[in-house]
Amino acid sequence: MSGRYVGSQSVLFEKPPLILQTASAGGMLEQQGPLGKALDIALSDEMNHEDSWEKAECQMVLGTIRRVIQKSGLNSDQIRYIFAGDLMNQITATGFAMRDISIPFFGVYGACSTMGESMQLAAMAVSGGFADYALAEASSHFCAAEKQFRQPLAYGGQRPLYSTRTVTGSGAVILGREGKAKAKITGITTGRVVDFGIKDANNMGASMAPAAAHTISQHLKDFEENPSAYDRIFTGDLGQYGLQLAKELIEREGFSLEDRLSDCGLVVYDRESQDVHAGGSGCGCSAITLSNYIIPALEEGKFRKVLFVPTGALLSPLSTQQGESVPGIAHALVLEAV
């Protein structure tokens, strides 16, 4: 037995899956951001030498996956599964990229929480003995997401101050049972869908904050821990205001967070100098922050133990037009230094 479930939503890995390698790609604004220098692949522009944004994202996914395999020194036939997804309808950016990859593929959709979802599944596959190595990946593309979810790019509208900017970027990790590890995954808490009735599709931070608060609180209850067990808790893409709302909800549960709660959307961009309103969002937001900031910090010993909680808003343009509220989801992973 390599793991056991604890509490109502969590798994504790007795033999923790190891994070062996990471890779990331990013667009122009991401290159200019605080994590830009650590990107493995820097897109030349939003088109990435292709003739559509969708193809650009597809190539970015393919490039990131190839790069992480290359960096790991593994042969691709040693990797048993890929768990990956993106924001496009029918996750085409990922599915199309997989045409050129021979590894068996599980496509996952968790909106912007996809990196958490794919990593949890990969971790369970590895820990359960179903794979020696598994790869988890997630991506998003600002222009492609705007086109699908919002208005044409050249349209001269105003966006609310509390809106976030979709990150153009992707991140991939290879998990394995053995090898030289950068960090390890000691536990996971899979989130449930939480909907507090926010109908403003621009306010994704507020839509997802209750889901993040629920998953984090449930995680702490399942593991019988306090936030002080963690150097930092990173939500995925709540932005400045969603983060504050989540903090209030968690503290109302009786947990004292002090200044441990951060958001990947505030790490990937510099809100002072970059015009991103409340912060970054999208699958790429938490994926890049994980690969370029959290894992290096665990490797360097800056953090010992981190809770990584990618957050997703499970809306579609159609659901918004039909006046539906925005359900949120959040998945937590315990990442520890080796």
Partner: protein, 152 residues
Amino acid sequence: MNMTEQGKQDYRLRVSAVCPQTNLLSGCAKAFLVGGSICVIGQLLLYLYQNAGMDMQTASTWVSVTLIFASAVTTGLGWYDNLGKFAGAGSIIPITGFANGVVASAIEFKKEGFILGLGSKLFTIAGPVILYGLITSSLVGVVYYLVTMLGG
């Protein structure tokens, strides 16, 4: 966690308090400044065309054509959305905003082809304005007709 209807309602109230709204006063001022400037440019163009010998009707048609052309070009260059970011309704409401909506859609959906992309998506933003604009003007026309009949 308090997942009752009351808990959710309290949360939504808290959301309104935490999330900042665009400043109405400065927003209106910017919209007035830019929207007004576009109108002033239109007025100057009208004088220019009239001075060039056009009658009122022809001159005002040419003013519209000039503004639409200018908006289409600046949309294509990626300038108009920056103006919109600053001006809000100030650059959406004038005829230039209408042109921006059409051209932006044309650029964006050209990738899906001329029929199913550009052709069908060209009026995604401007379409409702045309439809309800026509309906409203027809209704106003009917009201005008009735009022003049009764009054006349």
